[in-house]
Amino acid sequence: MTNGKDTLLEVRNLRTWFHTQEGVVRAVDGVSFAIARGEALAVVGESGCGKTVTALSVMNLVPSPPGRIEEGEIVFEGRNLLEMNDREMRQVRGNNIGMIFQDPMTSLNPVFTIGSQIREAIQVHLGLNRREAKRRAVELLEMVEIPQAERRYKMYPHEFSGGMRQRAMIAMALSCEPKLLIADEPSTALDVTIQAQIMELIARLRQEIGLAVMLITHDLGVVAGVAETVLVMYAGKVVEYADIDRVYYNSRHPYAWSLMRSVPRLDEKKDRLLTIGGSPPSLINLPPGCSFSPRCPFAEEICFQEEPPLVEAESGHLSACHFAGDFEKHGQGVKS
């Protein structure tokens, strides 16, 4: 949500489908959002709701076949990435948009040193020679707070701990000073204390280099400290899209509302956490009407028949719910 600010990335009506033997999986089905320069957007949702596929679509890295971007526009700095040829797209990847992945243990190539893997992108995109690239890589390692960077530069991934590897991944992703960092569950595979460090690091780097961040996570706990805007996805669609405070305190969608209430909080005394019953629907055979209706505590007749459009429930707050205005009132008698 850019609110008139300088838009960096705008995704319009993105549809990325997977053509499998069982049928067409509509992993991402009509997703739109925008990120301003320097803004941080959190994409939140359960596993399999299309978060990662959205991110891979932006990078044009959806495994194909079976995946295909069927429709939509991905406009980055005024240019539609989907219309770029392979060569132009490579200039964007790593150079303008950096990406880090969920599992740092498997995301680094085991047979090359950390240093050479960071240096590679610098040499390809910035055209520096080996020595200059090395100096830059060591600086980057220092920037992501890896001690003894000079020595670590020569080490292999297996000599690094999980947290250090993720730091190295971040250094690699930021090596060419991209304008956007896509972080796909960057802390999920790490210990809790390390998670916090990684999220702090991302927040700090944002401040320092004015980076825009697209943070993908299923963990609402990590969103608060990093992002300003939240995009809640469910079954391949956007169900709520607003700034973080509104989603946290004044949610207009029962899915996001339930998610907020299933996060343990220290400042609120509660006996039990709310859980969302059932599981996400199969993306091949979506139920008619609202995809969330089978699990929704407030669902009415209309929810099972008509799919709710994504509309502005209030200024700057999008929600895809028939009762976006007042579902809580509407569903009287349902207690959290």
Binding site: N109, F112, V124
Partner: protein
């Protein structure tokens, strides 16, 4: 790295010793009187006794083994009774032929096997992939003695492109000499080439699915760089292991190929030594072959450590 090599050398010694003991034991338990085979027909008991004394056949097995090992340490492999010459001189004559043949075969395997496998993996399900898959299946199923005979029929008898059999005569030039190698080396390489192609294909496909390949793409590297730098180096690890082990086999187990193409190598000699019950010959040839195989395995392990840094510290590769 040095510690790694020393440790492997030490293991190598044990393996060689074990093989010598095993082969001696096998030769000792084969029924039949060796002395009677060596002596001319109708020799007197006295002559037989002399032969037994000369070759220590009257001593118990362990004593014989001890003497043999002591001789090996003095680099004395004994004398072949069929050739009436030292086993060393025969090995010196025949081993280079086997090694040269195996080298040419290995070159064929490396070039065609890896190339076919990588092309097949990169353009999966394409025409080339299907072609490689079918032709490797056919090749694997064809025994050497059949491929060899077919090649002799087509390329020597009918087309006359290559000499039918034998090693290049002394004094032949490079190209005419090489023409003698083409058929035996191809026959020797055929099955391994097919196997390497399949191994390289499956290994590359496996590697291409790894997360770090996606990372490399996300860095903005070209497809070529992702495939030939990031994937190939990982994908080749199992291939190099196989190639190394196979090289020893190519030298030692070329018996069929060397027989069909009448190649004067170690396999040819080994075949006749076994038929003739020439114990010292069999032991000597096997001993040298074992040393070669074990030594090549050592080189493979070293190159493996070069390819995969995780091996260097003596840790097992992580399960990823």
């Amino acid at each position: 790295m040095l510690v790694f090599i020393l440790r492997r050398l030490y293991q190598t010694l044990i393996v060689v010793l074990g093989v010598v003991v095993l082969i001696s034991f096998l030769l000792a338990i084969i029924p039949g009187d060796v002395a009677r085979m060596r002596a001319p027909k109708g020799s007197s008991e006295e002559v037989l006794e002399n032969i037994r004394k000369k070759f220590y056949l009257d001593k118990p097995f362990l004593t014989r083994l001890g003497i043999y090992i002591k001789n090996i340490l003095k680099l004395d492999l004994g004398e072949s009774f069929t050739y009436k010459r030292s086993v060393w001189s025969i090995i010196r004559e025949s081993l280079p032929w086997s090694v040269k043949l195996a080298l040419v075969a290995e070159v064929i395997i490396v070039i065609f096997g890896i190339l076919a496998g990588v092309i097949s993996a990169v353009s999966r399900y394409s025409f080339w992939d299907v072609l490689v898959t079918i032709s490797t299946s056919v090749l694997v199923a064809m025994p050497i003695y059949w491929i060899g005979r077919l090649m002799q029929l087509f390329f020597a008898q009918w087309l006359g492109w290559f000499p039918n059999s034998g090693a290049p005569p002394p004094g032949s030039g490079f190209w005419s000499g090489l023409s003698y190698y083409v058929m035996p080396a191809t026959a020797l390489a055929a099955i391994s080439t097919a196997y390497v192609a399949r191994l390289a294909r499956s290994s590359m496909l496996e590697v291409m699915r790894q997360d770090y390949i996606q990372t490399a793409r996300a860095k903005g590297l070209s497809n070529r760089r992702v495939t030939y730098k990031h994937a190939l180096r990982n994908g080749l690890i199992p291939v190099v292991t196989y190639l190394g082990i196979d090289f020893g086999v190519l030298i030692g187990a070329a018996v069929l190929t060397e027989m069909i193409f009448n190649w004067p190598g170690v396999g040819h000699k080994l075949y006749f030594a076994v038929i003739q019950r020439d114990h010292t010959m069999v032991l000597g040839l096997v001993f040298v072959l074992v040393i070669i195989v074990v030594f090549i395995n050592l080189l493979v392990d070293i190159s493996y450590a070069f390819l995969d840094p995780r091996i260097r510290l003596g840790e097992s590769p992580e399960v990823t």
